[in-house]
């Protein structure tokens, strides 16, 4: 199964961690430090969206036998946030949203913690709240954060706190008024997408322990331990070296375990106990209502085009309901602004994106950073525009598509990409041949398929932006005890990072994969101010790995070259042996490490650390933008016109990954993203009642099961090399979902003639749209 030979990039490579996962050995959050002596933490969450509150009976809870510590906002008054400290560790007097932590308890058993929690009585007095984008932006709405400007980091954002705008970004090119004046047709529409949940199978949690020196060590399975270290330190008023986070594999994150939610509370309570480890594991209900959701979107798109199909102008506003906290604002809005036109080179552009505060659970972007929602709007809009222009959507797209060489942003010229190939291959895969343009029918019901069946497609393009202020670092040690021991600052969240690291080292050093061990990520291995990248790791980690392995190879070869008295250029490593092409000498690396060589009999050890940090960091719109990743989706659906029930007969997704370093793993990732996209598109919606989440389990917030899978899946790998990427590769985890939802919506339109502009596409929504269409048609008759 695992070859003894060095790995070859681009050839199948089974995930190293897979065997551990499949034998139950991999340690997740709930498996950490299980020990009968440890303490158990529970959190009391607010049950009102915005209210003054009083905690009664605290003494009874504190004195409950077995309770070791109880903290309220009066005991620890810290603020936290990634960009702006807009969240309190624990609310004091006023709760801003349902799900905000009010108190935290540590006790001898989980049962005692729960009992003590139940002893606390919370009295609320409701305050005016705003619960949607519309409400927040309407004049006279209560400000969610009236004191915003006093928060740490407020100056970093382009905020209008009195209007509930936490951050806003605009991008303008050309002159949109001029563009609309030139247009023959103008189409304006509004699209929405619901709040979602990341819903990893592993809920948030971990273990924290106070150390004798007053520091705290945390075993937390999170996506961004370095970022969390600095946020937690900021919240607790400690220096970052006093917080150590050790992590391992993560049981799913999808963006939900990037920013700090309950982790800082766990650190705080651990600091107030007797030094025993404290465990906090959220229940599924708490996971739904007490950590993060993903932002909802409202998009307003206005597009103008000439009769010949040239799009002359776009004016787009994307509003994001980020709840009561805006951790990811800068990053999230940059991504959706850059993607805001969709993959079209339009001469006159005005894109505005707003992060809007509401009194709802804080939102953290889901995998894809909102770019999928942007395409939900754009790719339906383009299809509708084509219909009005009496041309095929495919032709309209081709007319206006971004091409290599287009100077899109001040410092960014579009590179060669597989955008067009993705489109062609996806459409092809479902057996759709729309190449003969039959303008009118093409957009109406599809004559070549059965009634109620329709096909649709959508393109996608996503900016690959590196994490703000962050880099990747790798240390490789080569010695007799550990052979090749590797320390990295990135986390394996299921994307196969550790396998990637192993693969590159095996390939570059030309050594067997069995020699390589990747250590769990530990912030203690790095300087206290080090900020590690937490996404698009193929890019940053890939570059760091190439530097580290290059340096390591040089160290080893120069050591041997010196003893052999040959120039280093004669030497190479082949299958784990140092060889000289000139003298034909050979030396197995293992014997070098075991016995040493030459005069000096003590065996050598080698160590290299290399880092990669993006250089293009400034305030501009295309700062940190590395490239655009293209995708296309094509769907064939069947709609029951009586009930609105939908079946996805076929779904194809093509993704341009630049170079598939591990092809089967890439295909697996694409398939996973396809199923997740179906889930987001058809099933998922975070529902609130008066600001209180009522989707708090998998019955009320269903996610896709095997019963919801499309009948046929066609994953397609497209490889147009990214010259600046490691081995010509591009990250794929964010962009593989982009285009799924609008492809399905476009297919529904072609099946039964109704457009659904609100996500998720439920059977009820299709049914209602069909009813409305029938009513309209009979009124005309």
């Amino acid at each position: 199964m695992i070859s003894r030979k060095p790995h070859v990039i681009g050839k199948p490579f089974p995930l190293i961690e897979a065997q551990r996962k499949l034998t139950g050995v991999t340690c997740y959050a709930g498996d950490e430090k299980i020990n009968p002596d440890m303490l158990h933490a529970r959190i009391l969450f607010s049950e009102r969206p915005r209210a003054r509150f009083w905690l009664r009976n605290l003494d009874a809870a504190r004195n409950h036998p077995g309770v070791v510590a109880l903290l309220t906002g009066r005991d620890v008054d810290g603020r936290m946030g990634h960009t702006v400290a807009d969240r309190k560790l624990l609310a004091v007097d006023e709760a801003l949203y349902a799900g905000q932590p009010l108190a935290v308890i540590a006790a001898e058993t989980p049962e005692i913690a729960a009992e003590a929690l139940a002893l606390i009585q919370v009295d609320y007095e409701d305050l005016p709240a705003t619960l949607s984008i519309e409400e927040s932006l309407s004049p006279g709405a209560p400000a969610v954060h009236p004191d915003f400007m006093s928060y740490r980091g407020a100056e970093k954002l382009n905020a209008e706190p009195e209007r509930n705008i936490a951050h806003a970004l605009t991008f303008v090119r050309g002159d949109v008024d001029q563009g609309f004046a030139e247009a023959d047709v103008i189409l304006e529409r509004t699209y929405t997408a619901a709040h979602l949940q990341h819903a990893p199978m592993e809920t948030h949690g971990g273990v924290a322990q106070r150390q004798p020196d007053g520091s705290v060590t945390m075993w937390m399975h999170v996506q961004a331990p370095f970022l969390q270290r600095s946020i937690i330190a900021g919240a607790l008023g400690m220096s970052p070296e006093k917080i150590r986070i050790i992590t391992g594999c993560v049981g799913g994150s999808f963006g939900g375990k990037v920013f700090v939610s309950i982790e800082a509370l766990l650190a705080a309570i651990a600091l107030h106990t007797d030094g025993r480890p404290v465990r906090l594991l959220l229940t599924r209900e708490e996971e739904f209502k007490g950590v993060f959701m993903a932002p909802a979107m409202r998009a307003h798109i206005k597009m103008g085009a000439k009769q010949d199909g040239r799009i002359t102008a776009i004016e787009a506003t994307y509003d994001w309901d980020v709840g009561a906290s805006v951790d990811a604002a800068i990053f999230h809005l940059q991504a959706v602004t850059l993607a805001g036109t969709g993959p079209y080179a339009i001469p006159n552009v005005s894109v505005r994106t707003n992060a809007v505060y509401t009194n709802l659970l804080p939102a953290a972007p889901l995998r894809g950073l909102g770019v999928a929602q942007v395409h939900w709007a754009i790719e339906q809009h383009v299809a509708e525009l084509a219909e009005i222009l009496n041309m095929t959507a495919l032709n309209l797209r081709q007319w206006n598509l971004v091409k290599g060489g287009d100077h899109l942003f001040p410092n960014f010229v579009m590179h060669a990409s597989g955008l067009e190939s993705c489109g062609v291959l996806a459409v092809d895969a479902i057996g759709w041949r729309p190449e003969t343009p039959r303008p009118a029918e093409e957009n109406a019901a599809d004559a070549s398929v059965r009634p109620g069946v329709g096909r649709g497609m959508a393109l996608g393009w996503s900016p690959i932006i590196l994490s703000d202020q962050c880099g990747s670092s790798v240390t490789i040690r080569f010695d007799r005890e550990r052979l090749c021991d590797v320390v990295v600052d990135g986390v394996d969240i299921g994307q196969g990072l550790y396998a990637f690291v192993t693969q590159v080292i095996s390939f570059e050093l030309n050594i067997p994969v069995e020699w390589i061990t990747v250590e769990p990520t530990d912030t203690a291995n790095y300087a206290p101010d080090w900020e590690a990248s937490y996404h698009n790791l193929l890019w940053s980690m890939g570059h760091a790995l190439l530097r580290a392995t290059g340096e390591m190879k040089k160290q080893i070869l120069s050591y041997v070259a010196k003893v052999w008295g040959e120039p280093i250029s004669n030497l190479d490593i082949v299958d784990g042996e140092v060889v000289s092409y000139a003298s034909r000498r050979k030396l197995p690396l293992l014997s070098l490490l075991e016995e040493g060589m030459g005069e000096e009999k003590s065996p050598p050890s080698f160590s290299v650390t290399a880092t990669y940090r993006p250089s293009n960091v400034d305030g501009s719109i295309d700062s940190l933008l590395q490239s655009f990743a293209s995708t296309a989706y094509a769907a064939e659906v069947q709609v029951n016109p009586e009930t609105g029930d939908l079946t996805i007969l076929q779904l194809a997704a093509a993704a341009d990954v630049g170079h598939a370093l591990n092809p089967e793993s890439v295909r697996a990732q694409i398939k996973g993203a396809m199923i997740q996209s179906v889930s987001f598109t058809l099933l998922e919606e975070m529902v609130f009642e008066n600001g209180v989440p009522i989707s708090t389990d998998f019955m009320k917030y269903p996610i896709a099961t095997t019963a919801d899978m499309p009948l046929q899946l066609h994953p397609i790998v497209v490889e147009v090399p990214q010259r600046s990427g490691p081995y010509g590769a591009r990250d794929l985890s964010h962009h593989v979902q982009v285009g799924a939802a609008p492809a399905i919506a476009n297919a529904i339109y072609r099946a039964v003639g109704v457009r659904i502009r609100d996500l998720p596409i439920t059977a009820q929504r299709i049914y209602d749209a069909l009813q409305e269409k029938r009513a309209r048609e009979s009124a005309v008759r």
Partner: protein, 155 residues
């Protein structure tokens, strides 16, 4: 209330004192250190805690430990024998039936139960057998393939 129970776990006989309200999941994980069954919901909705109880798949979060007196239980720790992986485990590795891996134990257990009943299940039967096992990474297609290949290999 305390209960004395005796049962076979992964082929070994064990006796244990458990409390009335303790679930089988809790006892397996916290008392016996068998952490392959995972906590995903504790309400019977996700299948991450699946184990075989007398050959049937159960959500161990929904079974009281006191009730398993005399039962025969299998977890993923008991799948591999004599340093050799079970064909299902091998197949999951070879065919990418695992991403983040949190659902993997539950998937293996459901698959094992299915293969005990049906030696060569159709795709449709596999889908049905896995309906109670959620995978947020969406790895279903490769999980199904892994099970199919494993069932063929056994012939």
């Amino acid at each position: 209330m305390k209960h004395e129970i005796r049962f076979i776990i992964n082929g070994e006989s064990r006796s244990l004192t458990v409390l009335s309200q303790q679930t089988l999941l809790e006892v397996l994980r916290e008392d016996l250190g068998l952490t392959s069954p995972k906590h995903g919901c504790s309400t019977g909705e996700c299948g991450a805690c699946s184990v075989l109880l007398n050959g049937e798949v159960v959500n161990s979060c929904m079974v009281l430990a006191a009730e398993v007196d005399g039962a025969d239980i299998l977890t993923v720790e008991g799948l591999a024998t004599d340093d050799e992986l079970h064909p299902l485990q091998k197949s999951f590795i070879d065919h990418h039936g695992v991403q983040c891996g949190y659902c993997a134990s539950g998937m293996l257990i459901s698959a094992k139960a299915l293969l005990n009943r049906t030696s060569r299940p159709h795709e449709e039967e596999i889908r049905e057998a896995l309906v109670g096992n959620l995978c947020r990474c969406g790895a279903y297609a490769d999980i199904i393939k892994s099970i199919q290949v494993a069932s063929r290999a056994r012939r």
